[in-house]
């Protein structure tokens, strides 16, 4: 695996921007906290410096303006104001886009002019820089210099400097020892010798200054052109003695101590690229498979010692897999933290006061799951703020606190994580949902539907209850997309709502995507895995029933009609059905489908492998896994199959 500092920088920039954003959000709540100001400044500073290092010039240039603004805040020159913080927040978004490399320049310009306005409003006045000149000489130079006494202690080697001078041209060097004290008073590492040099050759003034680059400001030095014959020679500037007294750093000391204490508690971390974890996961998966083959062999034979080794390896492989799973887990705080900004933006956009409360942030979820949960949660939160929460005056009229509450909470239950998004708004308007559902033909006028079914309508494609589509929620994705995303994570979504009190949306997500419990089945000659979490029950389909149901694809299960798919037909196996076929009833949310298989082989814990890009266009399969004998079994995509079952069924009914 090759090292790529630019790639590392992109990741780092993302983290820095995240820190800056969190710092800004905290600062917005406490505008006088200089610790936060310093932290934000430092983040911007690092971003600028590293950005320039790795060729992100536009990013460095843009960030420079924000850094400068914050430097002025840091120096007490400009006050931190909500406006200024908000501008830098949007600047952060633009910086993200610059890191990604697709940032419209106009956006940057607009932000910079807002920034200038915000800075002016928070202060007044400006500053101007000063440039420096340089000039060449013809014949040579005469110089006289003395290093600061502590130069040697501070790592400067005078002999190396003399060598560098010699390398420039023909050089004569004479030491001046007038300042060297009697031996008794001599401090051995003080540099008290001065030097007079003549340098002959076509040497630039800059080249000489380069030699003394690091000590120039603190040393005594005169550089004069050698006495010149030709009258046209210009009077070269003489670099003068410049001793700058260093002033002690006026840095907020207690703030630094705070931060040091904070970082100490975090413990040591090792940063590992995600793909290395995935590779390790693959290896562990292979180990588990090899182990199960070993254990089959061991159990067929009579060798007791082989069997005991096999059991030992089985235990170790199992533990390793569990440890591996834990390595991939990250706390949901990394997810929840990102919504503070969203809530702030939503509050600004809607003019509502909104408070965000988060709970259970230490709950851990597989990193892939976290990443894929972000967009659905954004949509749900937008919906809650936009449609759920009332305006302050309406809330007060209803006897509620003026500011609306969004509560995000996470907790683990068994192999699942439950994430709930609660608002204390007006609740979902059932009448409106009903009217909309009737208008869309989802239900018949007057049809009796249960509470759950009615609320479930909001997950239908194209469904939106807002009388007018607002800027917030009307972004082309609906709750149907949210639902599909959650289902692709093998999770489920559920909504509850009480009129006048608010709504709660609950997401149930498996802890990990890398391993599932599956039901191994046979269809024709092929073996397939059905994710166990989706399985509701298994029924027998006798030959007579099968024959009787020819032409129909629907069974009655406890007074409910359930469509079913004959996988043998779907997969065109060309085989005869087994005498005792089974129906595996699977479901996502409220929808069910029965899958007719030839045989149920048993439970199987499965390491999920991705399908090749060559099979990207094949629906029906969510991935593949390797069985104990080394062969491959495909994992059924339940969401796809359920969807496949529904519309055909509806078509059938419509045709009847």
């Amino acid at each position: 695996m090759s090292e790529d500092p630019t790639a590392a920088f992109r990741i780092e920039a993302g983290e820095l921007l995240e820190q800056v954003e969190q710092g800004l959000l905290d600062l917005r709540d406490n505008l006088s906290d200089m610790g936060l100001v310093n932290a934000v400044f430092r983040g911007l500073h690092t971003l600028k410096g590293s950005g320039a290092m790795f060729g992100f010039d536009a990013l460095a240039g843009f960030t420079h303006h924000c850094e400068t603004a914050f430097d002025r805040v840091r120096k007490g020159d400009v006050r931190a104001t909500p406006d200024l913080v908000d501008v830098i927040l949007s600047a952060g978004d633009h910086m993200r886009a610059l890191v990604e490399g697709d940032a419209p320049e106009a956006t940057g310009q607009a932000i910079l002019s807002r920034l200038a306005a915000a800075v002016d409003a928070a202060a007044g006045g400006g500053s101007a820089p000063a440039p420096a000149p340089a000039a060449p000489a013809k014949k040579g130079w005469k110089l006289s210099f003395r290093l600061p006494a502590d130069a040697m202690a501070n790592g400067t080697n005078p002999l190396a400097l003399l060598d560098e001078l010699r390398a420039l041209g023909e050089t004569t060097i004479v030491a001046r020892t007038d300042a060297v004290p009697p031996l008794a008073d001599l401090v051995p590492n003080h540099c008290l010798i001065g030097w007079d040099c003549t340098l002959i050759g076509d040497i630039s003034h800059d080249a000489i200054e380069d030699v003394f680059l690091f000590v120039m400001d603190d040393m005594e030095i005169t550089i004069e052109p050698l006495a010149v014959e030709d009258a046209g020679a210009d009077a070269d500037p003489v670099a003068q003695v410049a001793v700058e007294a260093a002033v002690a750093a006026p840095v907020a000391a207690n703030d630094q101590q705070d931060r040091r204490a904070a970082t100490r508690t975090q413990g040591e971390h090792v940063r590992v690229p995600a793909e290395r974890l995935d590779e390790l996961m693959d290896r562990v998966g292979e180990l588990v498979i090899a182990q199960s083959r070993l254990s089959q062999l061991a159990h067929h034979g009579n060798d007791l010692s082989l069997r005991s080794v096999s059991e030992e390896i089985e235990r170790l492989a199992g533990e390793m897999r569990d440890t591996m799973m834990v390595l991939r887990m990250v706390p949901v705080s990394t997810l929840f933290g990102r919504f503070r900004r969203l809530i702030l933006d939503l509050a600004n956009e809607t003019g509502k006061a909104i408070e965000l409360v988060t709970e259970g942030e230490t709950t851990e979820v597989d990193k892939t799951v976290i990443e894929r949960l972000f967009d659905p949660l954004v949509h749900i939160i937008r919906n809650s703020c936009d449609h759920g929460l009332e305006k302050a005056e309406d809330r007060i009229a209803a006897g509620k606190p003026a500011s609306g509450l969004i509560r995000l909470s996470a907790h683990q239950a068994g192999g699942e994580v439950l994430i709930t998004i609660t608002d204390d708004g007006r609740g979902i308007d059932r009448e409106r949902v009903r009217a909309k559902a009737e208008a869309n033909g989802l239900i018949q006028p007057g049809q009796v539907v249960s509470e759950d079914e009615l609320l479930g309508m909001i997950f239908h494609p194209g469904f939106s209850t807002a009388a007018q589509v607002t800027n917030l929620s009307g972004r082309g994705v609906g709750m149907d997309v949210v639902k599909r995303t959650i289902e692709s994570l093998r999770g489920s979504i559920d909504v509850k709502s009480v009129a006048g009190q608010g709504s709660t949306i609950t997401l149930r997500i498996p802890l990990t995507l890398a391993i599932i419990e599956g039901l191994l089945v046979r269809v024709g000659e092929g073996r397939y895995v059905i994710p166990l979490a989706a399985v509701e029950e298994c029924l027998e389909l006798s030959l007579e029933e099968d024959l009787r149901s020819r032409g129909r694809s629907i069974i009655t299960l406890r007074e409910r009609l359930i469509p079913f798919l004959r996988l043998r037909d779907l997969f065109v196996t060309g085989t005869k059905p087994d005498t005792y076929q089974k129906i595996v009833v699977v479901g996502t949310g409220a929808e069910r489908v029965g899958l007719v298989v030839d045989q149920i082989i048993g439970n199987h814990q499965t390491v999920i492998k991705a399908m090749s890009p060559l099979h990207r266009n094949v629906a029906s399969f969510a991935g593949a896994t390797i069985l104990g004998d080394g062969s491959v079994a495909l994992i059924l995509d339940i969401a796809q199959l359920v969807a496949l079952g529904q519309p055909r069924e509806e078509r059938r009914i419509a045709a009847a």
């Binding site: 500092p5 320039a52 840095v251």
Partner: protein, 122 residues
């Protein structure tokens, strides 16, 4: 003998870039991710050169340089700090703290190597 260099920076990408440049030029490079770690490593092992960022959490570069220069064993060890061109005041502070020289960000690998060679001469 290979000269050993300690690079102290909170930015992993920068450390990586510095390490790639310097080890490519034949130096042995050790990394530290903040001032405290840098101080600990430099105290435990003598380096021929220390290259450090200034702006870092958990003990910044200035504090680290001051702390190092208080140790007699660190006398004479060159310390190069990384800075941005706008940072003249910072430069003065770092010099006063005992730094040997600096390198202005952004820099090319060759510039870094040249500076290392300059202060490591003989």
């Amino acid at each position: 003998m290979t000269a050993s260099i300690l690079t102290v920076d909170d930015s992993a990408s920068l450390r990586m870039a510095i390490r790639i440049a310097l080890s490519g030029a034949g130096y042995a490079v050790t990394e530290a991710s903040d001032g405290a770690e840098g101080l600990a490593k430099a105290t435990a092992q003598r380096f021929d050169l220390i290259v450090t960022d200034l702006n870092m959490p958990n003990m910044d570069g200035l504090e680290m340089i001051r702390a190092l220069r208080q140790q007699p064993a660190q006398a004479g060890i060159p310390i190069i700090f990384l800075t941005t061109e706008s940072d003249d005041a910072m430069k003065a502070q770092a010099k006063a703290a005992g730094a040997t020289g600096w390198l202005v960000k952004p820099f090319q690998a060759e510039q870094l190597i040249r500076v290392a060679q300059k202060v490591l001469a003989r």
